[in-house]
Amino acid sequence: MLADIGYASLVTALIASVFAAFASWYGARTGNHRWVESARNAIAITFPLILVACLTMIVSLVRNDFSLEYVASVTSLDMPTYLKVTALWGGQKGSLLFWNLLLSLFTAAAMQRKWREDRELMPYALLVASFTQIFFLIITIFFENPFTRLPVVPLDGRGLNPLLRHPGMIIHPPMLYLGFVGFTIPYVFAMAALMSGHLDDAWIRTTRRWTLVAWLFLSLGLILGGRWAYDVLGWGGYWGWDPVENASLMPWLAGTAFLHSVMIQEKRGMFKLWNMVLIVITFLLVISGTFIVRSGVISSVHSFAQSAIGPLFFGFLVIMLVFSVYWIIRRHDALSAENRLNSFLSRESAFLANNFLIIAILAAVFIGTYFPIMSEMFGDKVVVGPPYYEKVTGPLFALLVLLMGIAPLTMWFRTNGMKMLRAMAWPAVGALIPIVIMIVVGLGSPGTWLGLWIATFAGILTVREYLKGTWARMRSKHENPFRALYSLVARNRRRYGGYLIHLGVVAMAFGIIGIEFFQQETQLLMQTGQTVDLGRYTLLFNGVDRFAGRDDLIITEATMDVYIGDRLVKTINPRTELYTRTGQPMTIPDLRSTPLEDFYVLLVAWEPQLADQATVRIYLNPLVNWVWAGGIIFIFGTLIAAWPDRADEKAIAASRARQRVAVATD
């Protein structure tokens, strides 16, 4: 009964979306605003309708309604309630339903807010948005219906995939989906600008914050995914260059390029076409990423079970690709630059260089991810593993960090090269300090020294931007340092939020250099009472224990003492969990974590009969916590840059009003 309500409201939502598409198209053709408004209302109503469907699904999940095939496949009686709720996105069908919900929420919200300002864009934005919604609803209703019933009601369900029971994994997919879906809005408005021919900056201003918010969630999803891998997957790392990881990294890269180059358009009216191309690429990468992940085109550890939706996503991708390229080509004349570049050495060219590097990284990741298809075309199948990506993107990332440090020294229009060099002089020397320390301690190689120098140099330059600004305010406004820093950031949040993001990247760069180049590891069979040394640590093995855990778990847990010298610093319990129902094992590490390094221990293997021996694998991960700290700084900076700002809104409204007057008097 409940499921029928959910299904019925999904179907109603589809009807509303189809109506919206038709009404907005008709409204755009005839110029009749009442049709467009009607379309907007129809779009607005899809959100509550899909929400009802989601709620009925959640209730079914919580109430263990195993007559629904989806419920039986992702929950079981012994699962706690919060996991049953999150099981909504724990499987293919539910996650598509959830995707629909987010899409309708974003679309409804975007269409509500900007109604008055973007009258010209509206019909087309509605058309593209409702088309996208129709696609996802059709998939959910006709191909991946989560309300499908089982002929025979099982007594218990199969339970959620154990990998998805970790807190990090509970929020990681929604963050990714929010990011993915969020990029639909800028795309929709970009296409509306192309179709309507209103190619001024309106679409960019309308969607600027949407883009930033989508990017924020995508960043958050990527960082949480890394943390989850580190905590649960048990291989001592956080990023494996798996096709699914790449599928979410690629739109993030394109979005990052867009967020930078869009500033040139705002300041200088240049690169309009390029920005259009970037946002289209971002959206298409979201769709193609979803396509490869969910269709099994490229196999991956994370892949969803293969299903019929591959061809559907392919069809959608083709339509959107052809549609986007068609409109870009058709309007490219109107997208030419209003201005010329004044100097090689300018903020504009710095942003362009940034775009160049990011697109190069994106291209390398794209080639690596999709290459297995090509290799199968010509016979011998290959796997593209981490070494490829590290070799190809490593130098590009290093250049990007270097550029990130230098770019704030450039000015719009042109920059005095000598002044810039002088400004870089002492940070360049100061950045030698860590290298000197490394050489004295006898660590690293020329490559790692260069990497450290770049990261330190970029860090010093970025911090100095804050110091310079604060200092200037302290002098001119006679404020105390904290007040000065606060008002500096508050007055120019996009800029200083951006620099905070850069600082986060610098911290992450340190962490990545630490773990990539200085990670130590060892694996051995240990007997009770045996010790092993790694770095400055000594590990004492005290035996393994076996017991039943929550749900259907059997836990095998080792007890080990971690010493530095003779001092006991921590007792750790790495373990393996066996979910007996599915027979799926998980290796859960335990670690002693400090800002300097993580001492990370895995229980790799043990003999069921022997309690006094086990094979353990130990990693020493230097600076890995800098990755997480950098991630937090990164997110914080994005929040500062993206937080709604009343003054900002007013400025936008005012500039819009000016523009309208200008248009009217033309």
Binding site: F356, F378, V382, F413, E521, T522
Partner: protein
């Protein structure tokens, strides 16, 4: 005769020497090679991390080959010959795989050349129909006419800083 005996002893010494230098094969030695291989049974999971029985057997095979004195490269070659290119984490640089390695390099190179050319074009405004800039750019390095505007923006920026 004496000389050949000497050579023989030297050879023996070298053989024993290298054998003892190899010492016992540790799990770390095995992992160092396993890291660079993928077992087809665990897709996209490096061999050193995969826990399946098949992968344990593969690691045991690496250990065996190490004990028999095979080098890292030889072991990788053996696996590649036996199970195909897909077992290597880093696709071998041969045949069609060159596309994988050369395409990014080519893109960066051509992209870089294009980028530089494009910047120069933008800067010089070659055959630019917009009179504003071209009137001032008899010499490309001459300051553009918006100079006062530049100064204003820079002031603004300085104020912000």
């Amino acid at each position: 005769m004496r000389f050949s005996a000497f050579i023989l002893i030297l050879l023996l010494y070298l053989l024993v020497g290298t054998a003892s230098a190899q010492g016992e094969v540790t799990a770390d030695d095995v992992n160092a090679i396993a890291k660079q291989l993928f077992c087809p049974v665990c897709e996209n999971e490096p061999l050193d991390q995969c826990g399946t029985k098949a992968c344990q057997d593969w690691r045991a095979e690496i250990r065996l080959q190490l004990e028999q004195g095979a080098t890292e490269q030889e072991i990788k070659d053996n696996f590649q010959r036996r199970y195909g290119d897909r077992v290597l984490a880093e696709p071998p640089r041969e045949g069609i795989n060159w596309i994988l390695w050369l395409l990014p390099v080519a893109l960066v190179l051509f992209g870089g050349i294009w980028f530089a050319r494009y910047l120069r074009q933008l800067q010089a405004g070659k055959s630019d129909p917009a009179p504003v800039v071209s009137s001032a750019s008899g010499n490309p390095t001459a300051p553009p006419p918006q100079d006062d505007y530049v100064a204003r923006i820079e002031d603004e920026l300085r104020d912000n800083e």
